[in-house]
Symmetry: C2
Subunit: 370 residues, 2 copies
């Protein structure tokens, strides 16, 4: 699989894992539950049509040819897969809720094992903020930190450039496939990150950077880092989503303040009002992250249920669907209300998800789709 | 005494109070203790030579002629005295440690009874910060807040101007005598504050604005207000002292952030790191101060000891002086260590103070002078 999958993973199992994740309505949670239930992706794929078929509609596993093509494209891009149980998979990211079961990567995965700090901010940032981002990244990289960002215009690009100039590590996480550069003017920078740093993508090769992929990309940025620093951000911007995700993961959230007279500062200032740490210098960042007690602890399997034949009998997706609405509710609450066992409820939810009727939200919450 | 002293205060007692406070080595604490012990300033003045003489050196009460001259100068300036027990004395200020026993004033003392917010900042503030200060003060005054500041260049002046333009109240607290305008270019503004707002001075008329008077002036600004807002301030500036004093008084401390690239923002940013509330708008200030539970409660007499003849016998200023250094120590700690009664220790401290050998610090601490 491109030369570096988990050492003990057979080619067939690696292929099956990719095929499983690319199949309809499979997300990190259902992938994890299926792997936990069936032991291997090969076995999960065998069981999937029956399980998904209980939803009523026919279910089509991802075509083998599509997976073959993906692997060819990945090799062509000089990239390889990173499975959740690979020693190279970033440990801090693995401990985050909804961590991608499979990443694609180019470059040096060891950079993710250093202390990582995410730097994010506005694409249309002020010249002063761009300079500040570059200076911060330069100083942090020179101190041995890996600077994580999203290769977007503005703050992201400045962060990568500063870290590279600082002679240190940087990780670029992109919303497209790993073989696509966006924005076009960052093609050279993305190549440098892949050559000198680490480039990560969750979407398969060939995927365009669609708007709906950006929040998922942001959770990876937040999940890789001990803390996220927002340099300049307007209210309701993607950078603030990354900061919120970092906070929900128990990571440090930091922001660079600015004058209230500049609307581009309002997001950071509000973040500080909401509890983010105001930072004025790279030293402030280092001081804070030195105290980060983020011993990575994998949550990848901990809430994966082990269901058996009796659970499959007891699972009543239709009953459960009747209890759900489009407003998210926690799975724990559903289990309490249902009177069924946890495993039966989890299985019913999985069936609804495979049928495309369920959406999973952060914090272990679910809702009906549309 | 200029037309508005406490209603039940005789001319003779008011005169004696002024004379007492202007006598050597009398500060707010010793003034309070003497008034508490002797009932009236007239009686305190009678006792003062004996009490002070126990220090060894001769002690000269302020000359009557000097007090007469002060009163004439005050009348000429159109000002009057405000004694601590006057109903016009600002209640919140009275609850602050070391509140001035006597203020001089021009204008409308009722402005201090409205919710007050102090606005302070750099004299060499940026044009943007000056504009922001004016806009904030305008909006706060229009909402019925009284804006308190120090009539200095930069932020102070902008705060007063904004409040006046907002049609609301403003209080100027100056470090000089009330008949002296400083800086010269604020002569017109100071007159407007006296005519349309309230002008306060602790120093007697004719006093030049000496550097050592500014911290004392700052404590009055902080003491008058439910909260202090620092608009732009360099590290180690007077504005930060005002903010610290406000915090020590249990008042709200607020700061307007700025870019780390501008050194003039560093004081405010550091203040926010240290726990001050970041504010971006007048609405943020109002939201915070609405929750201010600063019911004024006079502490003016509460720790004034009542000593008697036995205490005067027991007081051993020399022994106490031997236990003191130039490093401040709390009076409570001294009392614990001394084995004497609290009243005897307080009296011994008073005698050292009258002899010019004691300095009183914030938080009820004392040290030897030089």
């Amino acid at each position: 699989m491109g030369g570096g999958a988990a050492a003990d993973l057979s080619q067939a199992e690696a292929f099956a894992r990719i095929r499983l994740l690319r199949s309809p309505n499979i997300g990190p949670v259902s992938y994890r539950q299926l792997l936990a239930r069936f032991g291997t992706a090969i076995a999960a794929l065998d069981a999937l049509p029956d399980l998904a078929g209980r939803g009523g509609k026919p279910y089509r596993i991802a075509a083998e040819g599509r997976v073959h093509d993906e692997i060819v494209a990945l090799r062509k891009a000089g990239a390889r897969y990173l499975f959740h149980d690979s020693p190279d998979y970033p440990a801090l990211l693995l401990s985050a809720e909804g961590a991608p079961p499979i990443l694609t990567m180019r470059g040096d995965p060891a950079l993710a094992a250093r202390p990582c700090v995410a730097m994010v901010g506005a694409r249309n940032a002020s010249a002063a903020a761009v300079r500040l981002a570059r200076d911060f990244a330069h100083a942090l990289a020179a101190e041995g930190y890996t600077v994580v960002s999203g290769l977007a215009r503005g703050i992201d690009g400045a962060a990568h450039e500063g870290a590279l100039a600082g002679g240190g590590g940087t990780i670029g996480v992109i919303a497209s496939g790993i073989d696509i550069a966006y924005p076009p003017e960052h093609t050279g920078l993305q190549e440098r990150v892949a050559q000198e740093g680490l480039l990560l993508a969750e979407q398969p090769p060939g995927t365009d950077p669609l708007a709906r992929h950006f929040p998922a990309r942001n959770r990876i940025i937040a999940g890789l880092a001990a803390g996220t620093l927002v340099v300049e951000a307007a209210p309701r911007s993607g950078s603030l989503i990354t900061a919120r995700l970092a906070g929900e993961m128990g990571r440090e959230v930091m922001a660079v303040p600015g004058s209230p007279l500049d609307p581009r500062s309002h997001g950071c200032n509000q973040l500080i009002r909401d509890g983010a740490v105001l930072v004025q210098s790279p030293a402030d960042v280092i001081e804070l992250l030195c105290g980060f007690d983020g011993m990575p602890r994998s949550t990848f399997r901990e809430d994966a249920p082990q269901w058996d034949a009796a659970d499959i009998e007891a699972a009543e997706p239709a009953d459960l669907a009747a209890r759900l609405t489009t407003a998210p509710i926690s799975v724990d609450e559903l289990i309490r209300q249902s009177g069924s066992g946890a495993a039966a409820v989890q299985l019913a939810l999985l069936e609804l998800e495979l049928a495309g009727r369920l959406i999973r939200h952060a914090g272990g919450r679910v809702s009906l789709s549309g």
